[in-house]
């Protein structure tokens, strides 16, 4: 019996193949420049600016788009171009093709002067300004709002505080119940954040560095995300198209803006630690966020293998909203797969567009 479960000859052969791939891959890598990594390429125009926020309107690609436009509110923790990562993996492009008039909030990168921005500034300030701009531009009383991840939580707060301005609300991979227990790596953020001294962190650091946040995300799968993922790089790099796909995703993952200190403080204390969204105790700008005020139609989209936002956390929404028109839909993907998985992008945009058209 040969006790060591490895075969040196075949391993060596495989190693040589990997090296051949790596040689081609390194050549490909060495030719690349930052400008070659195209992201967010769907045609768009800046229609409104406030501080560092920019509101973009994507150029419609159909003659008569839906009269009520859709505003996408993304999370603060990563850049919003994930919804238009590349031409063939783009939620935005798919929605445009289906006749949706799409707007997107780019929150920008908070600097030292944004450290004092509160959730009130984000929700009653920035989101409300964008909604008003769109209402005025389209001559409508109400618009459609799509909130993604943390942007979904913000959208829930906004919808509860300004229900008169929204026709429909869509939440995507949105945390609602922040105290659900996860297993097998799912929901770890909920338990990790509970013991953090948010006051101490903000008082010490001011804005919370994006790198600090990223470290937390990478630790959710420490070996797969920091080691395993890169072992395939030589094979990927040998194919320029695959390499660019890989690098676009890398760029997005590590393009993490710092978090405005005061907003982060409240988000951690009230949402993650206090779980106050579902108890109706969150206060934004002096008003309580009561999810029962969300009476417009709600479409709740979640990912079955989401390790950042456990499905149970998103699914909790149904029990708290006041709407009689509530739809929930699961997709067989992880948190990021919702935007880039070919299967999800085949099914999700048509579902969303059909749902909206039926309610316009």
């Amino acid at each position: 019996m040969f006790p060591f479960p490895m075969q040196p000859a075949t391993m060596l052969e495989n190693l040589q193949e990997m090296q051949r791939n790596a040689a081609v891959g390194i050549e490909n890598l060495s030719k690349l420049r930052e400008a070659d990594i195209h992201i967010g390429t769907a045609a768009k125009q800046a229609v409104y600016r406030e501080d560092k926020l920019v509101l973009y309107r994507y150029e419609p690609v159909v003659k008569n788009p839906l009269p009520i436009p859709l505003l996408i509110s993304y999370a603060l923790v990563n850049r919003p171009y994930m919804v238009d990562l590349q031409e063939d993996r783009s939620l935005v492009r798919n929605l445009l093709k289906l006749g949706i008039d799409v707007y997107l909030i780019d929150w920008g990168y908070p600097g030292p002067t944004e450290r004092w921005l509160t959730l009130n500034d984000y929700i009653n300030g920035y989101i409300d300004s964008c909604v008003d701009v769109m209402r005025a531009k389209h001559g409508v009383d109400k618009i459609n709002l799509l909130g993604i991840c943390q942007g979904g939580t913000f959208s829930l707060c906004y919808a509860a505080l300004h229900p008169e301005k929204l026709q429909n609300l869509i939440t995507m991979v949105t945390p609602v119940d922040f105290h659900v227990e996860g297993t097998a790596g799912c929901g770890l953020l909920n338990s990790w954040v509970r013991g953090l001294d948010a006051d101490l962190l903000v008082d010490t650091l001011g804005n919370i560095p994006g790198a600090f946040m990223n470290f937390g995300y990478l630790m959710l799968r420490p070996f797969a995300l920091n080691v395993g993922k890169y072992t395939t790089l030589p094979a990927i790099a040998a194919d320029e198209a695959k390499l660019l796909n890989f690098l676009r995703m890398e760029k997005w993952i590590f393009d993490s803006p710092d978090q405005a200190g005061e907003a982060w403080r409240q988000f951690i204390k009230d949402f993650y630690q206090g779980n106050k969204l579902i108890t109706g105790e969150v206060e934004i700008g002096g008003s309580r966020v009561d999810l029962r005020q969300i009476t417009m139609p709600v479409l709740n989209l979640y990912a079955e293998q989401d390790h950042l936002v456990p499905p149970a956390s998103s699914l909790a929404l149904q029990a708290y909203v006041g709407t009689a028109d509530y739809t929930v839909q699961a997709f067989p993907a992880g948190h990021i797969g919702m935007y880039v998985s070919g299967k999800v992008q085949k099914d999700l945009p048509p579902l969303l567009a059909t749902w909206l058209k039926a309610r316009t």
């Binding site: 060591f4 890598l29 002067t113 013991g195 797969a224 920091n226 395993g228 890398e250």
Partner: protein
Amino acid sequence: MNGWPDIQQKMFEDWWKLVATAMPNLQANATTPPMEAWLSDALDQWRTYAQQWSSAFPSDFAPGFMPQFADVTRVALEQFLASQQQSIQLMAMTGQAWQAIMRGATTPDEWPKALQAYVEQLRQQLNGSMDAFKTMQSSAELWQRYTDEMGKLGQPWLTHWLHLQQQAGQPSDPRQAAAAGAVKLTNLFWDTFNQSAGRLLGAPSLGLTREFSEKLNRSFLLWQAHQKADLDYQLLIGNTWLDAFAAFMQKLLAMAYAGEIITQQEKLLDLWVEVADKQFIEVFHADAFAQLQSTYINSSMALRRQQRELAEVWLRMHDLPTRSDLDAAHQAIFELRQEVKAMKKALRAQVPVVAAMPTPEPVAKPIKRRTAKPKVANVRANGAGKGIEGK
């Protein structure tokens, strides 16, 4: 690129020779170097090659690793190189463990027991090294470590200080300076303390030194608390790593029993990633881990904030701006910006009312002229001065 395959191949062949020495049917070669030597040699070769490779590219930008690459590409490549290093280390660890198991077992039935003994030995080493830190409770020792670590903060000023010393004809080499007693001045806190004490030597006690001492003592206590949190955290991570490694080796043993063969080097790493993640995630879910991690981060923040307070004392003493000053300035800018926004919004809301009102004539500052009587002139809204018509 040509050298890389050769290095990898040689590395792999050497490793395999080492592993083979542990096989029951092969005699260990007395001249075969230990696995540690292989690892050290392999890593050295890998680093040398990576450096040569990077220097082969033109460096027409800022210094750094492969600077002409796109940032994202560079980071991805660095991560790849790091993963290759981990792969080498994993091979060494695996080979070493296998050697130990084979030495401790005469039949396959004894492999699990031998593995357990090997892991236990590693665990004792880990815990023992941590205990050595923990038993260092003497305040003198702790104070020495604290001042050594905190002294690093003083480095930016050391250069300047040495320059001044040189100008004054005193030794500029840090070692000479140290011999001359100057090393004390590399320590930010002692430096600050001495300077504050020196300045206040002839002055009545106004409590300034008391405040500083309080800050210093508090910093020391926070540092101690952070040291403990750091050790506890490292110990847990270290033990989890050992558990993961034991689980990984058990997988390999199970494969050996079943006659399964790993045919690719990356499959070995894949197996490690899968097993290690599973083990770590299990620990990550425990309340004890969340608590330890929070304590670690919180203690780190508390120490950092206290260090800043001390640094601010030093900065104020030298009439330099502090982080608190900057924060105050940024906050003022933020609040002013908010006020301007609110005023603009209010103004926009008034636009219909204002538009209905008659437009007042702009008033310009009277201009003195020698030959003509000053007149009030019309000023174009966009051109100060240009719009003044001296009629």
